[in-house]
Structure formats: C-alpha cells, structure tokens
C-alpha cells in the first residue's frame, strides 16, 4: 500500500498500536545506505555521530598528550624539535577544548534532550545536520593541517602578537582562527536548537519545575554558549582580518591593543569552562538519582546554583590575566568573583552528598565514575581557589601547577562524569549492556592513572617549571617527577583503552538491555532501546519530576498527532500545556551541501578575502534548495 492511498491527516489514535508504529516508522525513518547517511535529520543518528566523532578526537588528543609526555620524560630529550612540540601542544589544547569537550557535551544534549523532554525530534533538525557537517569540517581542517606539518603553533589561546601577522608566519594561525569559526558556528547552531527544544517541545505536563536536571543544565549551557561565543568569533575574525587584510586591531604600533585579544578571548574562554562543566553537573545529578534510588536533594537550589554559576561565569575572565598588570581595584573584584564561584559549586556538591546520605547507593560503573569525580574535582576546585587569589596566582600562573589545576577541573569535573554518562546511556543508545567488570577496570585505571599523572604537576609548578616548554635542563631537578608523570600517563591511557574496548565489544556482543535496565526515572527510558526513529509511539504526559518512578505501571500519553507526516507537539514555555501541532522537517541532502559550500568559503578565505564574495554564491544556492517548497505534507501548516 503506497502512502498516497492513505487518507490524509491520519491521526495516531485512529490506528491500533502495531499499525500506528508502522505508519510512524514509515514517516520518520532514515533510508538505509549512503542516501540516508547524508540526508538524515534524526537527532539520534546525528547525536550518535557527534559523540563518536568527539571521542575519536579525544583519542587523537590523548595520543598527542602521550607524545608530549615522552618528550618531557627526560631532561633535554630530543624526540621532538621545538617546532613540532609547539604544534603538538597547540593541537592538544585546541582539539580537546574545541573538537572534543564542547561538542561532546552538546552531542549528549542533541541525543538525549529530545528523548528526555518526550518529543520526536530536536527543533530545527536540518540545522542540526548542518552543524554536524560543519563541526566535522573544522576538525578535519585542523588535523589535515597537522598531517601536512602546518598546524597552529601558538597555543590554544593564540595570544597576539605571537599569532599576529608579524610573528605568526605562514597560514598556521589562520587555520587555528578558522577552525574556531567552524566549531563556534556548529556550537551556536546546536545551542539554539536545544533552547527551542527545551522551551517549546516538552511533553505535556512537564512544567519547568518537572524538567530533569540534565535538561536544565543543557538549557543553561545553551544560553551560556549563545552569550559567550560571539566574543570569540569577534576575536578570531579580527585576528584573521589583521593577518589577511592588515587591519590593526591588535597592533600597538598602530593604535591597536594586545590586551584586547586577551579580554575578548577570555570573555569567551572562561564561560567555556562552564559550557563543559555544567552538562557534567547534569550527568552527575542524573546518575546519582538513579543509583541512589531517590531524587536529587534540593531541586530548586540545584537549579538556582546552575543559573548562578552561569551568571558568575561571565564575571571571572580577568583571572586569566592577573599577571598582565591590572589596577588593584580590578584585581580585588575579580579575585572576589572568582572565589565566589565556589559557593554555587559547593552548594551542588552538598546536595549530592545529602542525596547519597539518604539514598541506597548501588555501586555500578556510572556511580563509580561519579565518586571519582568527587575526589578529583574537589581538588581542582581547591586549587582553583588558589589561582583565584591574585598574589598566589603570580607564582602559579603559566606553570605546571595550572596545568595540573585545569586537568583536575576538566578531566575530574567533566570527563569522569562524561565517561559515567556514556556508560549509563549506552544501553539506551545501542540496546546493549556494557560489561560491568571492564567498566570497573576502566574506572580504577583512569582514576589512579589520572591522579598519579597530574598531582605531581602541582609540585613541578611550584618548583618553577613553566608550561609550554619543549624541554628543560637536567640541573633544574625536575627530571624525576617528570619521568614519574610520564609513566603514570600510561596507566591513564590504559584506562581509556579499557573504556573503548568495553564499549566497542558491548556494541556487538553486549547483553540486550531492555527499555529501562537501570530502573531510571526519566522519559528516555520509557521507550525502546535503541529508540525508534519517532522516539515515542504516543507523546507521554508528565505528572511529576520522576515519571517512571511515580507512574510505575503505565505512563499516560497524549494522542492526536498525525502519523502520515512528521508532526510534534508544541507546548507552553512555563507549564508545558499543549499549544499546537507543529510539523518537523523531513530528511534533506541540502544541509550537507550547504556545509560543503560554507567549508569551501571559510577555508578559501584564509587565502584571499575575495573568497567571502564568490564563496557566498554556492552557499546561497545550497540554502535556496534547502528551503525550497516541495509539496510535502509537512509544508501545510
């Protein structure tokens, strides 16, 4: 029976369960093969792709870290020349921040938020597809430049004038700046999608105070992205202009200012840390609730702490510039604001501990990762208070102490929760359970390896070892600790290897997971594992913050959505009362071609400003096809 023969406007309640599922499947599915690969707009396929790509970048960046540790294991080692070393540490930082940490957090949101709020696809699904291709292009740009020996060599914050036209030779700094454009473009697109999905597509009844905490963190993160990213886009664009057409934004000889770069960069760069950390907070809350078998204590304080952290995040950027010679008043203000961030963070930690206190902890791998988080992240928080103090920072800034500090915060604070979260949601994404035994090994190895690798770096920094040096002299006395650090890094790497092996094996041979293997309370567990293309056969109706715990037997559902076209429910911002049925776009190849056209324009503009002019033509053509009406049922409304 062809779809033309079906009556138009068929609704889900007019069919029985099997027929409804079949009709929805036909409407929402992604075709198999290459066509489906390039045209899909399913948030689950794109989210999965995003996550896998980001983890590949994590592995590549980790290998670079190991190569650096090889070079630093002995004084005066000559495995790498300074040029290659500088490229490698720049690649490591840029890759981890822009190609792994931010995208992977957003990717988790892309996959999970629509499921957790009970809708059928993310808002602006074609933009979502576009954002992935743009992200991939930015990553390829950076790594291909590295393979060609022309990778950026100016550090992940690319301070001018070193990255400017006078001192940054070749196209290296341009490649760095344009990679920023790619990743920021994709990050902004995803942020907009998440904001709209969360605010307008929540299941009926999921008022703001019933939203899962993870969804709250993604919403707040998305707003931080929208407010912070423009600063870095202005900065990187100005840098490209300085280099390409000789503007003098950052040239003091022509009235420009070197410190302007640092202000713009860190106005983005500090919130960036929270763009990475806040989603991890959501993951921790989710895992803790499920594995202590009770809701997280203090829902309102948790949400307020999130919002407070996000606001404060914009008032701290100057603490990256404490040694640049600021007025005393500014130093005092930014010391106070930097330390104040400890208050909302502390509040969250206290609420989590109370949750465990009155809960019944079940020690599965995701919870073990969260316990590793507590141990390491709080050390990072303490050293964070130290570097927030201007006088102490003058000794600690730009040394290995700071290297230790931010790895404690980023790996302890974000990567451990992320690994736990991937473990936790893996059964939902693949339908198969990862091995608990290998999971425990990976927790133990990463936790021990991490602390042995990074704790000694605090001491090295205090002993005067500055960061970003490709070697050091034997008489500095840093050799012993550095060798210890390098050997410990192998343990850490082994932990990651076990993690990857575990998930790789489980994806093929894992035990079938069932809908809700962990007994979790949120909506993503109310559908099959892996979820069908349409997520939910009927849109669930939510009556509490923990629908699967409170409505144990049958979840109430809303009906009336059409099954012969992609349709989802739009609800009110505050109380999620249904407002309208809204169509959701079909698959299309044009987001892919638009991304290709944008990539050609952005990369060409590294070489000539005219590329912005002629490069706009293919983009305009691709966008025209993207939006051209095709007589689909989705265009009726």
């Amino acid at each position: 029976m062809s779809s033309d023969a079906r009556p138009r406007g068929l609704r889900d309640h007019q069919l029985d369960d099997a027929a409804g599922a079949e009709a929805l499947e036909r409407t929402w599915r992604t075709p198999s093969g290459w066509r489906g690969f390039f045209t899909t707009v399913d948030h689950k396929i794109i989210g999965r792709r995003y996550i896998v790509t980001a983890f590949i970048f994590l592995a590549l960046g980790g290998i670079l870290g190991l190569v650096m540790r090889l070079q630093l294991a002995w004084p005066e080692a000559r495995y790498l020349d300074p040029d290659l070393y500088n490229q490698i540490f720049t690649m490591h930082g840029s890759n981890m921040m822009f190609l792994f940490a931010v995208p992977v957090m957003e990717a988790m949101g892309v996959y999970l938020v629509p499921l957790m709020v009970g809708t059928r696809n993310i808002a602006f699904p074609r933009l979502n597809a576009f954002s992935y291709w743009i992200y991939l292009a930015g990553g390829l740009l950076l790594w291909i430049s590295f393979a060609l020996g022309m990778a950026p060599d100016v550090g992940w914050f690319a301070y001018v004038p070193l990255s400017g036209p006078q001192y940054g030779a070749g196209k290296r700094a341009d490649i760095w700046a344009q990679m920023i454009t790619f990743t920021e473009l994709s990050a902004l697109a995803v942020a907009v999608e998440i904001v709209v999905t969360v605010l307008k597509q929540r299941a009926p009844g999921m008022s703001l105070d019933r939203m899962p905490l993870f969804v709250w963190t993604m919403l707040v993160t998305a707003f931080v992205i929208i407010l912070a990213m423009p600063a870095i886009m202005i900065a990187s664009t100005s840098l490209i202009l300085d280099r390409l057409v000789g503007t003098h934004f950052f040239n003091p000889a022509e009235g420009g200012d070197v410190l302007l770069w640092q202000h713009l960069f860190w106005f983005f760069g500090h919130p960036e840390v929270y763009i990475i950390f806040l989603p991890a907070v959501g993951m921790i809350s989710t895992i803790l609730a499920t594995f202590s078998r009770r809701p997280v204590f203090g829902y309102e304080p948790m949400v307020l702490a999130l919002v407070g952290t996000a606001l404060l995040a914009f008032g701290l950027w100057v603490h990256h510039m404490f040694t640049t010679g600021l007025p005393r008043v500014a130093e005092g203000f930014f010391t106070a604001s930097s330390m104040a961030i400890a208050v909302p963070s502390g509040l969250q930690i206290f609420c989590w501990i109370v949750t465990l206190w009155y809960g019944r902890p079940v020690y599965r791998t995701p919870l073990l990762y969260v316990l590793a988080f507590f141990f390491t992240f709080i050390i990072g928080g303490m050293t964070g208070v130290m570097v927030a103090s201007v006088p102490l920072d003058t000794q600690l800034h730009d040394t290995y102490f700071v290297v230790a500090h931010f790895h404690y915060v980023l790996i302890g604070g974000a990567v451990f929760p992320l690994l736990g979260a991937v473990h936790y949601w893996f059964p939902k994404i693949t339908g198969r359970m990862p091995s608990e035994r290998l999971g425990r090994w990976s927790v133990a190895l990463t936790f021990i390896g991490f602390n042995l690798t990074f704790f000694p770096m605090h001491l090295l920094g205090l002993q005067g070892m500055t960061r970003r040096i490709y070697t050091y002299q034997a008489e500095m006395g840093w050799g012993g600790l550095n060798l210890f650090v390098s050997l410990s890094a192998l343990v850490l790497a082994a932990g990651f290897l076990v993690f990857f092996v575990n998930l790789g094996r489980a994806a093929r041979h894992g035990e079938p997971a069932g809908d809700n293997p962990w007994g979790a309370p949120t909506l993503e567990w109310a559908t099959a594992s892996p979820p069908p293309p349409y997520n939910f056969a009927m849109i669930p109706v939510v009556r509490s913050a923990h629908p699967l715990w409170d409505d144990e037997e049958v979840l109430p559902v809303a009906s009336g959505l059409r099954v012969d076209r992609r349709e989802l429910l739009v609800t009110r911002v505050t109380d999620a009362r249904p407002e309208a049925r809204e169509s959701s776009p079909r698959n299309s190849i044009w987001p892919f071609w638009s991304a290709v056209a944008t990539t050609i324009m952005l990369i060409s503009s590294i070489f000539t400003p005219w590329a912005v002019v002629w490069g706009a033509v293919p983009i305009a053509i691709a966008l025209t096809f993207w939006f051209w009406p095709r007589g689909m049922p989705e265009e009726e409304s």
């Binding site: 020349d81 300074p82 040029d83 500088n86 550090g155 301070y159 004038p161 070193l162 001192y167 000889a253 200012d257 070197v258 203090g298 040694t323 010679g325 130093e331 005092g332 010391t335 106070a336 330390m339 400890a342 208050v343 502390g346 509040l347 930690i349 206290f350 501990i353 109370v354 465990l356 206190w357 009155y358 316990l371 507590f374 141990f375 709080i378 050390i379 303490m382 050293t383 208070v385 130290m386 103090s389 201007v390 006088p391 102490l392 920072d393 003058t394 000794q395 600690l396 730009d398 040394t399 205090l462 002993q463 005067g464 500055t466 960061r467 970003r468 002299q473 008489e475 500095m476 006395g477």
Partner: protein, 330 residues
C-alpha cells in the same frame, strides 16, 4: 647555596649539586615578595586541604553509613546541613579574599628610593639596562641581573616583540612584559646568592630556553660590579685576541652585537661588552666557558634551534680567536 661570586665554575658546581634544585622555586623564598607569598601559600593550602578532607569524610560517611529508614525530619535536617555548609564556604572564601588583598598591598608597598633596572624581553633573551642616574653612563647587559642585597629594586618591564613574562620565583611573583605597555615589579632581595628565572609566557620556538640569572650581592660588591660594567671593553692583550676582535668587527658579528670600545655596534642581539663576566650564555643554555662559546658560535641552530643568531662560517683558527677574545671580555 654558598655562591656569592659568579665564576662559571661555581655555577657548574651548583648545577651538579642536588642541593641547588631550589634556585628557581616558589617555595624557596629569597626575596620580600616570595616570602610574603610563601607565608600566604602554606596557610591557604592547609585550609583548603582541610576543607577537601572534611568533604571526603562526609562523603565516605554518606556511602558507608548503615541504611535505616529515612527519618521524618530528614528533609529539614538536610536543609540545615546544606545551608550551614554553604555558609561555611562563604566564610572561607571571604577570609581568603581578604588575606589575598592584604598580601597584595603588602607586596606592592614602594620604598622611597628604589634601584631602577629596565628589563626588556626579546625572542629569546633578556636585555638588562641600569639607567644612567648620576652622569656616569648607563650599563647595558643581558640575561643576568645583579642586585644589591637588602635594597628595594624596581624592575621596569617591557617587550620588544611578543609577550614575555618575567619570573624569578625565589624573589617574587611573575609579571608580564607586553608590547605597548609598561609594567613593573618591586621587591627586596634578602639573601646573597644566585637565583634563576625563566620566561613564563609562551613566546615562540625557544620559549623553553629563555632563562636568566639573578646575582644578589652585598652592596659593595654590587657597586664594584656596576663600576666595572661601565668600563669599555679592555683592549685585547696579545695577537690572538687582537685577531679575534678584528674578525668579530669585520664579520657579521658586529652588525648585531655591541661591544663598547670597539667598532662592533649592533643593536639587535645582546650587548657583549662584558660578556665573559656573565654566568651563562644564550640565555641560560650553556655555562660561560671558552669551549661553550666556541661551540655556540660554531652551531647556534643545533644548540638552540630557531633562535635569531645565524651561523657565521669561520675557519677553525678564526673561531679559536673569536672565542678567545669573547672569553676575555670580563
């Protein structure tokens, strides 16, 4: 560290002895700034370590306690505990903020008549200038700063190219050298000795090899050193040294380096007038010996890849003569 005078031998001895690992350490205070910072560092570290330990203990208790049915007052008790802990956090950070502020005020207190020294960062070395304060002429040297013990010093920091950061952890905290801006550092060196510092802001290829020595001396020795540095280079004694000077002046060496009292008047590289009086060459890369000088001239790009000194081809006897002459510039 017992070295008070500077001969390279003493430095080498120092370098080989393990006891010297503290000569570039934030925890081995030899100056007013570092001492104040160390005095802040330890209590802050102890306080924060205690906080961490307390949180870990409560967490352990939460995990290990015997499970009983949740009491009716649980929510109320938890609320009180969370708010109390949050309040304690506020208290701790308030105390730390005030302590920080007081330390900053203490460190930046300026004396009436400091010794002013200008330090200018270059890729990848330090130019050091003692300005002409009494009409006897300025002294320009490189990669080594001599200081009188016990007198307040004001370093005026600038950069000729990219951002560098001046950091001698045993004396005081770091301060950036930023093109288009003037920064300064004030401190008192409190004990005689030789300290090491190195550039703390990534500044390109040889950021790792941009070190300097601080030689803290009793005031009389410092004055004697300064007077000696004001002199022009001594005329070469003997034919070999004369040859060395001639070759230095005629070959490209003199286009970049200045040696006062000779025809070499370059401005691009370090001033070499009293080159051999310094403890190291190439900004801390090599000890100052005649052999090291010859090795450096023969192949600067292998010793410090990417630095701005080109290889000047010299015949073996020319190399001998030039390095002998340079080694005589005390």
């Amino acid at each position: 560290m017992a070295t008070r005078r500077l001969p390279p031998l003493a430095l080498l001895a120092c370098a080989s002895a393990t006891g010297c690992s503290g000569w570039q350490s934030a925890l081995d205070a030899r100056g007013s700034g570092s001492r104040a910072l160390e005095a802040l560092f330890w209590p802050v570290t102890a306080a924060l370590a205690l906080v961490w330990l307390a949180v870990m203990l409560v967490l352990a208790a939460a995990l290990l306690r015997r499970r009983r049915p949740v009491p009716a007052q649980a929510a109320r008790r938890s609320e009180i505990a969370v708010w109390a802990a949050t309040l304690a956090t506020v208290l701790v950070i308030t105390v730390l903020t005030v302590a920080s502020h007081l330390t900053t005020r203490h460190i930046s207190r300026a004396a009436a008549d400091p010794l002013v020294i200008q330090v200018r960062g270059y890729q990848w070395w330090w130019q050091v200038t003692y300005p002409d304060s009494d009409g006897t002429g300025a002294v320009v040297t490189a990669n080594e700063i001599h200081l009188p013990v016990g007198r307040q010093v004001r370093l005026e920091l600038s950069s000729a190219d990219v951002i560098h950061s001046f950091w001698v952890p045993s004396l005081t905290g770091k301060q950036d050298m930023i093109p288009g801006r003037d920064n300064q550092l004030t401190f008192v060196a409190e004990t005689p000795g030789i300290l090491r510092g190195q550039c703390a802001e990534f500044c390109g290829l040889q950021h790792a090899h941009m070190a300097l020595l601080m030689v803290v001396e009793p005031p009389a020795e410092f004055e004697a050193w300064l007077a000696a540095q004001r002199q022009e280079a001594a005329p070469p004694a003997g034919p070999m040294l004369r040859d060395g000077q001639r070759i230095f002046e005629q070959r490209p060496c003199g286009a970049c380096h200045r040696v006062r009292g000779t025809a070499a008047a370059g401005e691009i590289g370090p001033d070499l007038t009293h080159f051999a009086s310094r403890g190291t060459l190439a900004a801390g890369v090599l000890p100052m010996t005649r052999g090291a000088i010859a090795a450096w001239i023969a192949d600067p790009q292998t010793i410090k890849p990417g630095n701005n000194m080109p290889l000047v081809p010299l015949a073996p006897d020319e190399l001998q003569a030039v390095s002998a002459w340079l080694a005589s510039l005390r």
